[in-house]
Amino acid sequence: MSKASTSGSMTSTYLVYGAILLIAIVQVIAAMAMGPSLWRMLLLAAIQAYLAVMFFMHLRDEKPTLRLALIPGTLFVLVMMNMIWADSFRLAVMKPFAK
């Protein structure tokens, strides 16, 4: 088990905690000021998620094999789901790629 990681200094944890909250605030303010951009929001959420998985959930301190077993498969499944978008637009206006 990853004893070293959690019994070590909590400094990085505090930093990550601050960073996640900061990103959350930036996200809200940016959305209010500039309008919600899907890509910007997803990027920021992905950064938050990365920080949470790696530092809060200590995946960074586990063996690389665990990261390899968990992350690519999940991302692959989620990426494949994007194949549904073409149909969602198409139904609204009945032509491919229309938005």
């Binding site: 088990m1 498969g73 999940t74 692959f76 499944v77 494949m80 789901m81 194949m83 549904i84 073409a86 149909d87 969602s88 198409r90 139904l91 491919p96 790629f97």
Partner: protein
Amino acid sequence: MSDMSVHAAVHGAPTSFIRKYVFSLDHKIIGLQYYALALVAVVTGMVLSWIMRVHLVWPNAPIPGLGALAKVGAPGGVVTPEYYLQLMTMHGTLMVFFVLTNAPFAAFGNYFLPIQIGAEDMAFPRFNMMSFWTTFVAFCILISAFFVGDGPPLSGWTGYAPLSAVGKDAGPGQGIGQSLWGISIFVFCIASLLGSLNFIATTLDLRTKGMTLSRMPIVTWAWFITSCIALLAFAVLMPACLLLILDRVTGTSFFIPAGLNVGDHIQPHQGGSPLLWQHLFWFFGHPEVYIAILPAIGIVSHILICNMRKNMLSHRVLIYCMMAIGFLSYMVWGHHMFLSGMNPFSALVFSFPTLMITIPATIMTLIWLGSLYGSNLRINSASLFCLGFISMFVSGGVSGFFLAQPSIDIYLHATYFVVGHFHMVMGVAAIMGVFAGTYFWFPKMTGRMMNETLGRWHFFLTLIGTYAIFMPFHYLGLAGNVRRYSAFQDDFLVPLIPVHKFITYAALFTGAAQLIFIANLVYSRFKGPQASPNPWECTSLEWSTPSSPPPFDNFGGQHPVVHHDPYQYGVKSSTGDYIMQTSPGPGAAS
């Protein structure tokens, strides 16, 4: 590291009947429970298919006893067109979920995966018990649909929306029956997730000393890969069922478009899309096909190697092929939807990986055939069923080439061609794998041999019978016979009725032939000759247990130590031409 607790046998052997056979924690009993459940489901499903076949060719013939079960659906025992669809839905759901997922994966996997890796039990025995009983609850919920309201749903095992989503306006069974279906599948998803979590943890954490990942038998790998697929596939079906239930119960419209006229009035729904259901369902549904077939592939390879007395040309490549299939299975679900109104561009994109799946499938077939060539195959019921599996896998798989291409699929979609295709490659092939596994492992599971003569009769009658049923399906499909029609009167399909009659006779005959199997199972369980500890002279760990069936902790308090790759055949040793995985000393170079 000290709390890397990886030991299962904390619980002692139970003595009471309830703890031993009903709420058992023993993976072997749970495996048998899954097997029994699958047996009940397969018999039920087969009887349903009989009724459907009889109705197809003799639409006015009363079925004895059916009138009492379904007063509305089959007045006087004569099946109505709606009840035909209801029977078909139950046939499909029972077969896909409770037979093809349960028998090769959950039943044999539960029984033999821990033994093959030298474990005393699954990693989480209570979890294991829960997953069986959750499956059982799902089964009961599904079966109860026969007895409530106006019967089971009629939307097919795929539960296509909006038919499945709009409620009882959509026809008999679409009220309470369809809701029960949705709940049953939801519960089944939970059970499967519990099961696959357990399988993965067991395979990774409970391997005995020397049992490295590369020393695991092919079939262990197959169960492992299957559980990885199931873990992520059922996770997608679960929210789909949730949304379907919401649509039905709370009036949301995830899967129902605006202005839908059903039952002579406009449905009070708008904003949803039936395509969304198909996407979510088939995102699970295609991996599900491989959940059914991969364990059978593993079982067949394992048994063939033992009976060929030599390793496959490359059993590693077989494992890589299974991984490739598992990977590709998530990229191809749209090939079920070429004619659903899906974006034509997506059809092109889905067609490509679908055709790519034929590459690992072909490599596997070539490895089987190439290994069989020139081998001195021991002919017995188990190895015969393995050959039957390969035959079915190829015959059914070849039609997949046609269906994978959108332009050809336009003609063949929703015809009997498709029905023939998936019954052969997914249904019968997987069942052949289950039969092979049963004949092969029965001595280990009961301590007695199955009757060989009956086994061979069973094989040849089944092989001939299933070909006689499902090969003509392809011709019917090419002739334009659409599936799910309940009768063929006054239309262009009338000339095909003789073919249908032939198929019905073949189905009745093949179903009756399965009685041989049941009789063999029951007879051999009690009267079969005693089996030696390793009757097939097989090398893997399940044949190293001190008794058959294995004791409660599988290895009688011992921890087996593995010294060899799984398939050391055709070598000189003190035992004959094979070296057990557990026997110390040098083996052949792997």
